[in-house]
Amino acid sequence: MKLTFVDGLIIGLYLLVVIAIGVALRRRTKTSEDFFLSGRSIPAWVAGLAFMSANLGAQEVIGMAASGAKYGLATSHFYWVGAVPAMLFLGLFMMPLYYGSRARSVPEYLKLRFDEKTRVLNAATFAFMTIISSGISMYAMGLLLNTLLGWQFDLSIWLWAGIVLVYIFMGGLTSGIYNEVLQFFLIVFGFAPVVILGLVDIGGWSGLMANLAEISHQRGFATDALTTLWRHTGNAADNPLGVGWFSIAMGLGFVLSFGYWCTDFLLIQRAMAAHSLRAARQAPLIASIPKLLFPILVILPGMIAIGLTHRAGGITFPLKPDGALNYDLAMPLMLARYLPTGLLGLGITALMASFMSGMAGNVTAFNTVWTYDLYQAHIRPDATDKHLLHIGRLATIVGVLLSIGAAYLAARFNNIMDLLQLVFAFVNAPLFATFLLGMFWKRTTGHGAFVGLLSGTIGAALHHGLTISQHAVPGVKGGWLMVTYVYPSEMAQAFWTAIVAWTVCFVVTAAVSLATAPRPAQELRGLVYSLTERERESSTRWYSNPALLAPLVLAVVIGLNILFW
């Protein structure tokens, strides 16, 4: 693929606007709250779109198309069982506590609700995870630009990291959020033509089904296994995911997705930046609407790409060193196939924007947690606000440098999605049990939360160490203690690791809480759902009322699951 002057011009225009936004915001960023929480002034639609696109980094755009090619329509489980219900729950029940408690971060909420040790545990693991994710995002970008355009790996990593550093350094979270919204529209307008042309080319939905039926049959599955969601999940071995319905619903739908969408500060930070409680509750609900539709833009191209491998003059996937198809190239192959010079520049810009904001999202979350939850809480409790702002900017530089280190580390693992799932499972899966108990059961204590979290993470690690998936070698893929059980797929193993972590955390937290002294109810006002005043739904327009919007989105998502059953 070769970029011409016009493509370069398009990329250049985008970068110019990004830097200009940073410069314009620099003068408005005066306090630490401006830098870390956008001065709590963001309108609901901006917070909502940023909430959604903060997750649209490398793992989403490249990984989802790759999974679409590998697993077919079932990849939509990540959206229609996973993300959307969790986002609705967050907006309806959890945002009032996050936003209403005036906590400045998720770890700080844990400090208010529980105690210091729970906060530190969460802050430290979270900070670590953001750096890893950011590194993976960068690595994927460096690799892709190298494969696609022949750009040198080191050069693109340092260059793009430099641009992210500049705009976050200047405008903080607001820069990040604004860029995420830009990226959202770039992805929509950059990928939509690929999907439209691809669908026309392959003969519409029915043409795609026919092509995928043959591929599905060749792989030894039922002919509709790549184009349905639930029909073949009765037995894990019958569907391309290699996962049964229970682990999809429990592992992915409940534990992993709620753990991620409802507790990950990277996302919650976007909603916390909203200008009012109402707007903060709307943000995840607004985000859930494009989320419903995004499989069309990110999963469908992968399905079309694999469908086209079957046709003379179609697409040929390059092979990985181990002989497997390199699914990660699904999206780039589609861009290269259908977009002429001009629109190609737009498609590449959309990819770059998503890589950069994947990195930027992690960096903004990292600098906030570092500054508020580790630095201010433990190193300099008496720091002035000006000093904190300074530390935040410094942490931005350090965060970017650490991410670059992580990118080189990530170069040693090749499946982005699986590694991320593994990290989620150990750290995030038990977390949702802690929040669920903490927010909705006033009896939960700090000791319970802390011991529960630790046990959950250990439980996850033990489960991972004792089981393995088919054809995997003991080590990073599991079974590093000994192999007691073999799962049909890595994904099934990851989902079960999450289920184990969540269950252990839930049980241990509840048990230890009952054995330790509870906090008086008046201290928990605003932190526990039953002790918090409800917002009056005196509203206005139906679509800005969370209690009406959420059931509507839920009905649509259930409808989609039935439609593609």
């Binding site: 225009l13 314009a24 901006v46 259908y338």
Partner: protein, 65 residues
């Protein structure tokens, strides 16, 4: 933060649209073989222009709140 995001979005997408439209008008039709013979630069450029101008128009109206 006082900076209406609709404005930079509008500027960016209008500018991108103009680049695509101009290029669509002057480019060699042969490059559209891959896009199934459709001059997608021109047609998609028009879509972007509508979006960009709509954003600019929205940011020029009295801002909400």
């Amino acid at each position: 933060m006082g900076l209406d995001l609709r404005f930079p979005i509008g500027v960016l997408f209008s500018a991108l649209a103009l680049v695509l439209i101009v290029y669509g008008l002057i480019s060699d039709p042969a490059i559209y073989a891959r896009s199934l013979g459709i001059n997608v630069n021109l047609s998609w450029g028009c879509v972007l222009l509508v979006f960009g101008l709509a954003m600019l128009w929205a940011s020029r109206r009295r801002p909400k709140n």
